[in-house]
């Protein structure tokens, strides 16, 4: 279980976040919505443990994974090594399986720069799921992709989420994306940003499920 309770987060003199708390179970997906620049990425960095400079507590599991907006790959290592280096416990066969699942089965020995942007994003997705994360953090992983590619990526993410059931924190500014992937949403607004209660999407998903 992930439990987040952030009292305040300041950048210098400026307070950017105030009283953001939520809990997340395995298999759940929480979308974090809000205008760009509101502090979504800041929140995500606190939850991920990248930034420790804040007041409050975050309880997170050991096995975590993240997908950034940019693929953030090791450009100097082959696609398969991008999985194996990050997950040393992963067997080569399992890594190849994972690449096949995201449609990169025949690209294992290529360097990231030889792949298209869409393929690099899928490699980044494969890297995230390959470690069987208990907490998965998605930081706007579908922006600046063309519509068809984005739809493919979302469907792929959905499949992998169902299969591996991580607790997922999904940062986006597209409500439509949130509707497709998340079963709860948390909207940030104001200055300093804080949680706006909102449960429309939750209801939507429940209707769909019933």
């Amino acid at each position: 279980m992930i439990s987040v309770d952030i009292k305040t987060k300041n950048y210098g003199q400026t307070r950017v976040l105030k009283d953001v708390s939520f809990e997340l179970q395995r298999g759940q997906c929480l979308a974090v919505l809000g205008k760009s620049g509101i502090g979504k990425s800041t929140l995500l960095r606190l939850v991920a443990g990248i930034d420790h400079d804040f007041e409050g507590t975050v309880r997170r599991p050991e096995a975590m994974a993240i997908v950034f907006q940019e693929p953030t790959l090791l450009l100097w290592r082959r696609a398969i090594d991008n999985l194996l280096i990050i997950h040393p416990q992963l067997s080569e066969a399992a890594a190849r399986d994972m690449l096949a699942k995201v449609g990169l089965g025949d690209k294992a020995d290529m360097y990231p720069k030889q792949l298209s942007l869409g393929q690099q994003r899928r490699l980044s997705l494969a890297r995230a799921f390959a470690g069987h994360p208990e907490l998965l953090i998605l930081d706007e992983p579908f922006v600046s992709l063309d519509e068809a590619t984005a739809a493919d990526m979302i469907a792929l993410t959905q499949t992998l989420m169902r299969e591996l059931t991580p607790a997922t924190l999904f940062v986006t500014h597209e409500k439509e994306e949130a509707r497709q992937l998340a079963d709860r949403t948390l909207e940030l607004a104001g200055s300093p940003a804080t949680v706006v209660p909102d449960c429309k999407i939750t209801e939507f998903r429940r209707e769909e499920a019933s």
């Binding site: 975590m64 950034f68 090791l74 100097w76 290592r77 997950h87 720069k113 030889q114």
Partner: protein
């Protein structure tokens, strides 16, 4: 015309100028013709003298090169990743960058003694600030997103160093190596000239005192030829291999 051809013709032209000057001067004790060097070169090679002194010098170059590179990489990396440390150490770097090699060499001989440790220390100290400056630039340019990614996935420090940091620093390490070796092999000659009893620098000193221009040229040119071939045959191919992923 292709660059290698131009290069070859240009070098031949230099040789011709040398022949011409030697002929005009007409005094082989001042400037012997290139042809007149073949005989003494062959004698030194056969007697083993040339090989012995070349080996001594190359050993010092290698020792100083790896010392300077190792120390410079560690220092540059720490300064590039720790801004506070950088503020404190930067003035030192400026001082050492502007310290003439000759001053360092003399002081090392005075403090450590007339031995190889002093010689190698002096050459390494002369080059460490230069290496550190280049590596610091590389360390400052390390991708913070990759660092974040490594944090979230709990990548172990050694893995981070080997697969994240070193490949990002590779072009800077290659650059520092090349500029390092170019300076070091020249400074090593000065160190030998001033305080060693073997090596190319020592031989140049010896034949300088005997006013033997031909032998000075034999030893200098042999050494230059060796160092340039190391650079072309060893360092440049290694640099290309390290950069292979960029061209893939």
């Amino acid at each position: 015309m292709a660059t290698p051809i131009i290069r070859a013709i240009s070098l031949m032209a230099l040789l011709c100028v040398w022949f011409l000057l030697a002929a005009i001067g007409g005094d082989p004790t001042v400037l012997p013709s290139p042809a007149a060097l073949v005989e003494p070169f062959w004698q030194e090679l056969v007697s083993g003298e040339l090989v012995y002194h070349l080996t001594m010098t190359v050993a010092r170059v290698i020792a100083a090169f790896f010392t300077a590179l190792a120390a410079g990489i560690v220092l540059g990396f720490l300064m590039g990743t720790r801004p506070k440390l950088d503020k404190w150490l930067d003035p030192w770097l400026v001082v050492f960058l502007n310290l003439p090699a000759l001053v360092l060499i003399v002081l090392c001989y005075l403090w450590i003694g007339l031995n190889d440790i002093a010689a190698v220390t002096a050459v390494a100290l002369n080059k460490i600030p230069g290496v550190a400056t280049i590596i610091r630039e590389g360390a400052r340019a390390l991708d913070p997103e990759l660092k974040s990614m490594a944090t979230v996935f709990r990548v172990r420090p050694f893995t981070y160093l080997r697969h994240f940091v070193v490949p990002q620093l590779a072009p800077f390490i290659a650059g520092a190596s090349r500029s390092g070796i170019a300076v070091i092999w020249k400074v090593v000659l000065v160190v030998e000239f001033l305080g060693r009893s073997n090596g190319i620098g020592f031989q140049i000193h010896l034949y300088f005192q005997l006013f033997d221009v031909a032998m000075v040229l034999v030893y200098s040119l042999s050494f230059i030829a060796l160092m340039l071939s190391i650079e072309w045959l060893l360092l440049q191919p290694v640099e290309k291999r390290v950069q292979a992923w960029r061209l893939a």
